[in-house]
């Protein structure tokens, strides 16, 4: 699995001149077969990015390619669940699943859909379902399609912890078996941390961190010690209390642990530090670099 699931070059989107850019200068690559957490604060551009990848929005500038083709061409191989889980309210659960099978005749996997939708009342109308039940039905449709790429926007937001754990488990099982690429957005990192091995951190319409979660964490260090110059390391955030300096740095070469107390930050600490320091330079690991950077200029 060496191809790219998503590749964006200079991607930008605006919903009207007065509202500014929802997304700007986005260039990144998501390798196929990864489970990616798309995180960032509210209004960061996560949903815009997913809609562009799903081909529901047309970029204002730049381009995005999905599974090696345009989003429109790739649509049969993508499943996208938007935040509001659009379903037909007057259909029953059984009707909805039937429609899923009819609309995806080539790939429909009834067993996969049933594993998710099993606990739902099959004769209930969608309008009578709770938020969590609708999420379950939407995910059943998405998995039944047996897609190569799943784009899930705030999928778990209205699920109770037990259902969340169970559905996440089923999603991971699908990915383990079929090598499905999954992108899941959330503004709560801890919800996704254990399940994802790739990270896209979007903030202010830009990708600020992208790559394997382990590598991104390993590229940083939390250092404490006597206040002194941290060069050549890139300081993301630093704080001085009396004579003591605490800083989150991006390593440029080895850190002198005779001078500093060096520990590895958690992913959450890392994201918080970046949120508090909007001027910190972006970091993409080699696998997350878009291949045609020239086109982005």
């Amino acid at each position: 699995m060496t191809g790219a699931a998503i590749e964006a070059n200079g991607l930008g989107m605006t919903y009207g001149r007065k509202r500014g850019w929802a997304l700007r200068d986005c260039s990144f690559r998501l390798p196929a077969g990864r489970i990616c957490a798309l995180v960032g604060p509210n209004g960061a551009g996560k949903s815009t990015l997913l809609s562009l990848a799903a081909g529901l929005l047309r970029p204002a500038e730049g381009s995005v390619r999905v599974l090696g083709s345009t989003p429109a061409e790739a649509r049969p191989r993508i499943a996208y669940v938007s935040q509001d889980k659009p379903l037909y309210p007057q259909l029953t659960v059984a009707d909805t699943l039937w429609a899923g099978a009819e609309l995806n005749p080539a790939t429909w996997d009834r067993a996969a859909a049933d594993r998710i939708a099993g606990p739902l009342p099959q004769d209930a109308k969608v309008r009578a379902l709770s938020g969590g039940q609708r999420t379950r039905l939407a995910l059943a449709l998405a998995l039944g399609k047996r897609p190569e790429l799943m784009l899930l926007d705030e999928l778990m937001a209205d699920l109770d912890p037990l259902a969340r754990h169970q559905l996440m488990g089923l999603l991971m099982a699908e990915a383990a078996e079929h090598g499905t690429t999954i992108v899941m957005s959330s503004h709560i990192l801890t919800e996704l941390e254990g399940s994802c091995d790739y990270l896209l951190f979007v903030d202010g319409g830009r990708v600020r961190l992208g790559g394997e979660s382990d590598d991104i964490v390993a590229a940083h260090a939390l250092v404490t010690g006597q206040a002194r110059d941290l060069a050549p390391h890139t300081v993301v955030e630093s704080r001085t209390t009396g004579r003591q300096l605490t800083a989150l740095v991006r390593r440029e070469g080895p850190l002198d642990d005779t001078v500093w107390d060096v520990t590895e930050p958690s992913l959450e600490e890392l994201l918080l530090a970046h949120l508090r320091s909007p001027e910190a330079p972006p970091l993409l690991t080699p696998s997350a670099h878009a291949r045609q950077e020239v086109a982005a200029v």
Binding site: L170, M172, A176, G194, S195, D197
Partner: protein
Amino acid sequence: MAESAAVEFRIDRRSGVATYLQIVQQTKQALRLGVLEPGDRLPTAREVVEATAINPNTVLKAYRELEREGLVEARRGLGTFVRRTLGSAAVTTDPPLRAELAEWTRRARAAGLDRDDVHALFTDVLDSTFKGDQH
């Protein structure tokens, strides 16, 4: 799948121990205690992630590590199987050692040591005895 797996893993996200290491450590612990024996099948990646919601690659990483240490082997299309046990069989099959330790623990208690004292003493002796060994 002919037979169900012999163990299941518990993942503690707040432990601070990397998830793949938790799987490695729990497998080793099961080998030491005889819960896992040669020929037993470890759960498939699918089974583990369905139960724990962790990333599939994390399970594969743990299994690769166990394979590298010669403890398990992957048989294509069949699963991952235990090759050998860990530590000496004495842990489970040598009652005299256990009995001696139980006797010593009783004496320690009679001498007025509480649980934490005994634990500290035991750990201290353990550390000095195995000093320099790879853990």
